[in-house]
Symmetry: C2
């Protein structure tokens, strides 16, 4: 597609920051209020640190409650703490009572017990109960991303009655999400779901039980891992999904916005693992908040481990010292051979790792993968082997050395692809994350075995070495 045709989306600039600071200096607060009410909360949160502490407090108080809570939810923990420490009790109580339950539980997980106790005193009883329950879920499972802000209806009422009930119960500034309404029985057991838009479309006298759809395929156990929840959302094109406990009782709802974040986190984790790094659990990785210590923490472990692993290549080479001294020309091709092996192995391992992650491949269709990869390995080995033969002829003009290099290249590519394909499956079979082990180790394994192959082939083919 031609680049010209594509139009950049408008990106939000930080232009509003100087304008607001000027207006604050001029004490024109009503104008500030007007401007910030039109900026999306996430954009305000992103520019938060451009303001002084004093300006932050002022801005926060000028925001309408709903927007203030939204901005608060988008701020990093340190800024949230700062605000809670400096706002009056009424404001703190308002923010804490109105925050969305999942974000709130997240905040409380990081607060010291003393502060939690203080805040609990400022909150409504039922909200305290809600935080207490949600805090029991560890990061990485469904319970930790669900919200308890949802609406339930019974199955025996009509569409018209349902709409009237919703209109009676909810005020305009209520921020419960009612785009999906969950249907439960008296014991809170989940029976089905009704989309709000289907309530509108349905004939007024139609009963909920005839409108509702089954949740059999989409209900989520509270302890399901969040990456599997994301797969479920993707598979069934969900906007939200109910979370149930072991008694099938509805205890929460997961919405797509949290899933989008999880998908991004999972992709980052996988890319980091493929890139021989330890991304760490849960946290979003960002340069903006990273320290040198964290960067080294993510990388040094693997780097050191792989160097130690590669100690073996030295041992292999020393073993073949005599061969090396006799035919120094063999050295010339070592980087090219190992480089190609590493690249071919990485290509395969990454394809398999990705396919395992997206659920495209499992142990049931492992045969298809092996067949495809083996065929590809043979063909690519042939291509690159011929190339290596040509290169060796060009550099050394010795057909036997060229043959050694070409044959080794073929074998190394074959070895690399087989290693690259098997390691992810083996890791997964061992209950490990396929990317953690397979990504980094493939290259080193190919280095070591590849060198042995090289010298064995040389010893077999070169007359001088026999």
């Amino acid at each position: 597609m031609s680049k010209k045709n594509k139009k950049k989306l408008m990106s939000v600039t930080a232009l509003f920051v100087p304008e607001i600071r000027d207006l604050i200096n001029l004490k024109n607060f009503s104008e500030v209020k007007e401007i910030i009410s039109k900026i999306p909360p996430i954009d305000i949160a992103e520019r938060w640190n451009d303001f002084s502490s004093k300006e932050k407090m002022l801005l926060f108080k000028l925001l309408k409650t709903r927007l203030a809570v939204d901005v608060f939810e988008s701020l990093p923990f340190e800024e949230q703490s700062f605000l809670l420490d400096n706002l009056g009790n009424t404001e703190v109580s308002q923010v804490l009572n109105e925050m969305s339950p999942d974000d709130r539980a997240n905040l409380f997980r990081d607060l010291p017990p003393k502060v939690i106790k203080k805040f609990f005193k400022l909150m409504k009883k039922e909200e305290v109960e809600d935080v207490r329950e949600l805090m029991t879920y560890e990061e990485g499972i469904a319970g930790a991303i669900m919200t308890t802000d949802y609406v339930e209806l019974r199955k025996e009422i009509t569409a018209r009655a349902a709409i009237l009930k919703l209109q009676d119960t909810l005020s305009f500034d209520d921020d419960s999400d009612i785009s999906s309404i969950y249907i439960t029985d008296v014991e809170h057991k989940l029976l089905g779901v009704v989309e709000l838009q289907d309530l509108i479309k349905a004939p007024p006298d139609m009963l909920i039980k005839d409108i509702m759809e089954s949740t059999d395929f989409i209900k989520i156990n509270e302890y399901s891992p969040d990456d599997e929840v994301a797969q479920l959302f993707k598979r069934y094109d969900l906007i939200d999904a109910p979370v149930v406990d072991e008694n099938e009782e509805l205890i929460g709802v997961i919405t797509i916005d949290d899933i989008v974040d999880i998908m991004e986190k999972v992709a980052t984790k996988e890319i980091y693992e493929v890139g021989k790094m330890t991304p760490g659990e849960g946290k979003m990785i960002s340069y903006a908040t990273s320290t040198v210590r964290e960067i080294i923490g993510r990388r040094a472990g693997w780097l050191v481990f792989l160097v130690v692993f590669d100690f073996l290549t030295g041992t292999v080479l020393k073993t073949f010292q005599d061969t090396l001294s006799s035919v120094v020309a063999l050295v010339f091709f070592i980087p090219m051979l190992l480089g190609a092996g590493g690249n071919a192995g990485t290509q395969s391992s990454i394809t398999v790792i990705r396919a395992l992650a997206t659920g495209d491949v499992g142990f049931d269709n492992i045969k298809t993968v092996l067949r495809l990869e083996l065929m590809a390995a043979l063909l690519m080995g042939l291509i690159v082997g011929l190339l290596a033969f040509g290169r060796a002829m060009l550099l050394e003009s010795d057909p036997i050395i060229a043959l050694v290099v070409g044959a080794t290249m073929f074998l190394i590519v074959l070895l690399a692809i087989c290693t690259g394909v098997s390691l992810p499956f083996i890791s997964k079979k061992m209950g490990l994350d396929p990317a953690v082990l397979a990504g980094p180790i493939t290259t080193s394994v190919v280095d070591i075995i590849g060198l042995i192959i090289y010298f064995k082939v040389a010893q077999t083919l070169l007359p001088i070495l026999r």
Copy 2:
């Protein structure tokens, strides 16, 4: 988190396939109808090839219209063609008229002109017009993923009137998505958006113009690249967003389900590029549908290119032939040194590539990245350098050789990290995808310069070589 605590989500098994086949054999069609009406369309589509051609036709006809269309939309192109070729005109017309506009335009893009002409004759005039317009958008831009199935309202009516109007216009089986309703003026210009749930929550006499929210930050130009659209959805936690043309007229709506697919595609593309492969534009990559030719097509190009690139390592080594012959022990450490360089380079380049992709890093905060990476490079170079020194002492017991190896390791890690950080930025500056160039080339660049460094350091420090 303990593994025990996590519960696997129920995965849909293929158990329904044998059951349905048995029932078909017994000609118990009403039971088949009952069963398939309860299976999610995507699950039926996934098992489609477990049925014979005859069974497929039968099953399709037993599905209720809405479900049949959903199954149809989830099938690969070949299966869609097969059905369209074998269904009667009435059924073809039904399917084509009721498909969601974006999926339908996708299908038509792949059909031969002759077939398109035939199908157009079976479709309603306005649907033909719709396909014609959507087909003009190439894959990869907003227009190609938008649907034209949305609902518009005017801003001067009340919430009550709006709800009544929706109820009057829409029948229960209408599948227009009305969770967001777009507000336009007489010229179709976009004014704002109202969530259906806000219509329910609002006081009945409130005017739409007072309920609606601004679309200034979320409206999308028809030619915006789809990965940027995905970023926008993520940033503002959107469920859907309006698409406008250059005159600000509303021409379509993009929904989150398409965005989820794009996010997955973008992540796969990035991982493939990092893994030195050419993923190809647009298409989802899957082993299930890949041929050996496609696998080789994605990989051989880079593999061959990098082998040719690595030809240079041979030239470098031949240049230093005399040094190599004098101190064969230098060879022992080449794979370890180049391996560590490759790994360190890959770690940095992948971190930068990911950060550029998520928008965490840009040219404005390049200084922070450089500072962090340089500090990390110095420290990691030191650690791995000491390790290499130790290894060389152990293998060769020659402190000067060990010093050469240790110093080279330090320099190579430094070089690798600098290369890994700069190449993605340079690629991006050149208007290229950072992952395309930077991922694969980093290792090869480090190989070549690394070898030169190694021998230069050796020639400087080893008395025998002076």
